[in-house]
Symmetry: C2
Subunit: 498 residues, 2 copies
């Protein structure tokens, strides 16, 4: 069965075991693996490596590069075995997060569109080995990726050696869904010729020099997807406010009922918001996004969404079975691109994307923290949120107004860490309401965010802070000694409540 | 003499006095004027408006939009007369700054490439009147701008009425230096066809419907340029570190001796750094920048710089006389573009620009504050620094390690305001040294920034802070209750010294 998937006859001779493949990974190497939001990861070579080190007791620490977050069996396995010295550019694993926050792993959290530019131009060092999942290898020895594209095209191009994990479990019907395009070298680069969300500008497979393929490991495994929290009252209210706002934009003539290409962040809140569009009056929608989650396919099924461009398909396990069995139905409506293209600043700006991302906390002036709990502890990473928020037609951030049962206010005097400055945040939505910050100065933003978005339990305290700050003056008034006091209180007492 | 400059015969009949032109500006209107870094501003209509209000005592408050900063005779005159309700998107005038920090003027500080996108799409309200300086009006009634292009093309396109300030003092030789291109409407926009720094992709004049031209005011005035602080020992050392770094990049094969297109921010430090390149080994340089200052023309004169693309020419008065008299020499080597193109994220990314901007302060993790003194008081604005830093091949920030005679450390535990997150800051340079932060995690960045960039007087205190923060852990360790304490001390005692 796998034989047919290797259409380049000579490459059939390179089939090896996971252990044999892992043997080419040595201490100090940089290893780039496929995988984006747990879709299309390398699945067996990383564990084989961990097993080997456990057996041999050898000292081995690698730099691990991915597309974005990968499954537990990669991040957790490697980090628990103590094998990860450095990690780039995004993760969302509990154990990896702990190691990062303890300073055991040096984590380089990056705009997801940027990593490969830097790698191709030699700014991040040499890539020794790439381990890339594929569903098939073409006659030319090129790789057809599976459920994500991520950074694989550049890893294939720049790695000294490439190991392929040929996953026979991933449906061959994925073939033709990918569009692989790598921008030319700078400074004489041609414009990327993508004008419509549905444009195909590249090849269906990832170019790779067959001589670099050091081994092909045959696997037969599901992606490690997990269930998303279902929409709840709060996320439904967030979606409601957002849809009301978009309807208002249509009435005012700024948007039509087909809106603009939509981007929707990862996670439960984003999924719920997108889900909310099912019942809206909008039609012929398009997505130009990063990860396509359950809600994207729900919208495709109802016909409300006409086309979805992303760089990975990450579904709940139940939905995955269904979608992967009906890929033929989606082929004309879905394209998967390298993350450098799905998240490209120039294209996001050109298309005029409506970007919806999630904040951990926002401050009264509209600065957003998406990554650092208490300003210090990394949650996941900035991911693609900066690529989209900075360049969008409309940059929207959603968050529930409180977290941890009300002990945390997600609207604070000053965010404890800034990922998105007020310049990149135009709309903030919580279940309490929506603040449209376009064209407003900080003092105007503050009133709106406090009154529209903050939870009533924290509104008075925010008003008090703001009034005290106003007495000290400034374009962006603050009482510096109190600006982070809510976080100090949370750290010391477990709650932001006074 | 002015007659020849109005080549559209019928428009000659629209010549009016400044007072007559100002008469069409009424209370509550939005007025968009030309001008970028004090080059090419509207020079007489704003003052005529202020005069009128002084005489009539009428209540009048306007929204004032510009390209970027404008001369005193605009910002100061209008703000002292109490006529400015709102200001967008950049300023650098002392009186305007005071009014902003007192909350008298609502200031919308914006990425300079973004304003016109939002205006064209109706997100910032209607533009009632545009007042645009021109050196001539073409046979078609189009405007040939003077020393800056700024936002004028979109102001001409979207304003209900256009007033032209035809400045006969500005040399006609400027004609042919401009390249006016306005990207098409979204979401079906074609790629902007600019591939080489020197490409001309538009027209030499700004399209405008002649019927909208409500009046033409003849003026005869210099731009209000002022002298730049000359390079000093510190700025020379900053330039020295930077050149050494760039030479190292050439030796390592990442760059060639022609480097990449250079962007250099405004101000004395940026000018001095660029000036430092005169003595370097680099050649055939190109600039893809915002403002072309004295040093750009010095480099053109020595032949080290081959081509400079910008959106404004802002010179010291002495240099201006010389350059404006020899425009013919520069015609083949200089192009002026709309700020939306000079600062376009997609083009900056495509060209792979080396961006050099100035920080007020940076923190030990590499976050940069370019705008807010003590986190509250606006200095100028973010300007184009975000357009460049986010999308550059290399994003460099320069600053002296101390300010105000050593009472302020420009390297602090946590910046009091974030304009550029660690993701957008790859190199930090002070007169003390250079920190190359590429591919480093926050803990690694901290050690490098403290040891390489901080002033020796503050290094121990920074090390102590960092060690204390490390004990609390986290990806980006902080002692939250002390993070802003240096700023509190400065506010209360006039110095950051303990
Ligand atoms: C911000 C982000 C962490 C939110 O994730 P989510 O799953 O949608 O949101 P949740 O409300 O479930 O919050 C996740 C956790 O953060 C906690 N949290 C939320 N707000 C918090 C706050 N202000 N302070 C501390 N913790 C907070 C929640 O309690 C929850 O904790 P748990 O995992 O222990 O239950 C996530 O969207 C993210 O990583 N974003 C950055 C990257 C990104 O935007 N990618 C998409 C770009 S295309
Ligand atoms: C950051 C910026 C203000 C620096 O300006 P500059 O003229 O190069 O630098 P200077 O060292 O002269 O500093 C300007 C003033 O800030 C003060 N200053 C510098 N660092 C400071 C700090 N950390 N805290 C408080 N004040 C500080 C200086 O003392 C000086 O004050 P003065 O005017 O009273 O003498 C200026 O570059 C700017 O506005 N940048 C933002 C916009 C931008 O980058 N545009 C270009 C993009 S293309």
């Amino acid at each position: 069965m796998w034989e047919e998937r290797i259409r380049h006859a000579k490459l059939r001779e390179r089939v090896v075991s996971a252990d044999e493949a892992a043997a080419c990974i040595q201490d100090g190497m940089t290893v780039g693996i496929s995988g984006f939001t747990r879709a299309g990861d390398a699945k067996v070579v990383p564990s084989a490596l961990a097993e080997r080190v456990k057996k041999t007791g050898e000292k081995l620490r690698i730099n691990l590069w991915t597309g974005a977050s990968v499954a537990e069996e990669v991040d957790r396995t490697l980090v628990e075995a103590g094998l990860v010295a450095r990690r780039m550019p995004f993760q969302s694993d509990k154990r990896m997060r702990e190691a990062i926050n303890q300073g055991d792993v040096m984590y380089v959290d990056q705009h997801l569109s940027l990593t490969v530019e830097m790698i191709r131009e030699g700014q991040l060092g040499n890539l020794d080995v790439a381990v890339l999942e594929a569903i098939a290898i073409t006659e030319d020895g090129w790789l057809i990726p599976s459920t994500s594209v991520g950074n694989s095209p550049t890893y294939a191009m720049t790695a000294d050696r490439v190991i392929v994990e040929l996953n026979t479990h991933q449906p061959l019907d994925l073939e033709g869904m990918h569009d692989i395009y790598v921008p030319g070298p700078r400074p004489h680069r041609d414009p990327i010729p993508l004008i419509e969300v549905s444009d195909r500008i590249g090849t269906p497979a990832i170019p790779v020099d067959p001589d670099k393929i050091a081994g092909i490991v045959i696997t037969d495994r599901d992606d490690h997807f997990s269930d998303l929290a279902p929409p709840d009252g709060d996320t439904e209210r967030i979606a409601g406010h957002l849809i009301e706002f978009l309807e208002h934009e249509v009435r005012s003539g700024r948007l039509t009922e087909t809106l603009r290409p939509l981007q929707s962040g990862v996670g439960a809140v984003s999924n719920a918001v997108l889900y909310g569009l099912r019942e809206s009056r909008f039609h012929d929608l398009q997505m130009y996004s990063e990860v396509l989650q359950d809600a994207a396919f729900d919208l495709l099924d109802t016909g409300r969404l006409r086309f979805a461009s992303g760089c990975a398909i990450t579904l709940s396990p139940g939905r995955a079975r269904d979608v992967l069995a009906r890929l033929g139905d989606y082929r004309a409506h879905v394209v998967l691109r390298p993350q450098e293209i799905s998240n490209h600043p120039g294209i996001i700006r050109r298309l005029g994307v409506i970007a919806m991302n999630t904040a951990l906390e926002a401050d009264i002036y509209g600065n957003v923290n998406s990554t650092h709990v208490l300003g210090t502890h990394m949650m996941n990473g900035i991911g693609g949120s900066g690529d989209f928020a900075r360049n969008a037609y409309l940059s929207i951030f959603v968050t529930k107004s409180t977290a941890k049962g009300g002990r945390i206010s997600s609207i604070v005097p000053m965010v404890s860490h800034v990922d998105h400055t007020e310049h990149d945040v135009q709309i903030i939505v919580t279940e309490q309401g929506l603040a449209d910050l376009r064209g407003l100065a900080p003092r105007e933003r503050a009133r709106l965010i406090i009154e529209r978005c903050a939870h009533p339990d924290y509104r008075d305290a925010l008003r008090e802070y703001y009034e005290a700050a106003l007495r000290l003056g400034g374009h962006t008034p603050h009482v510096l000694e109190q600006a982070l006091s809510w976080h100090v209180r949370l750290r010391d007492t477990g709650s932001m409540h006074p």
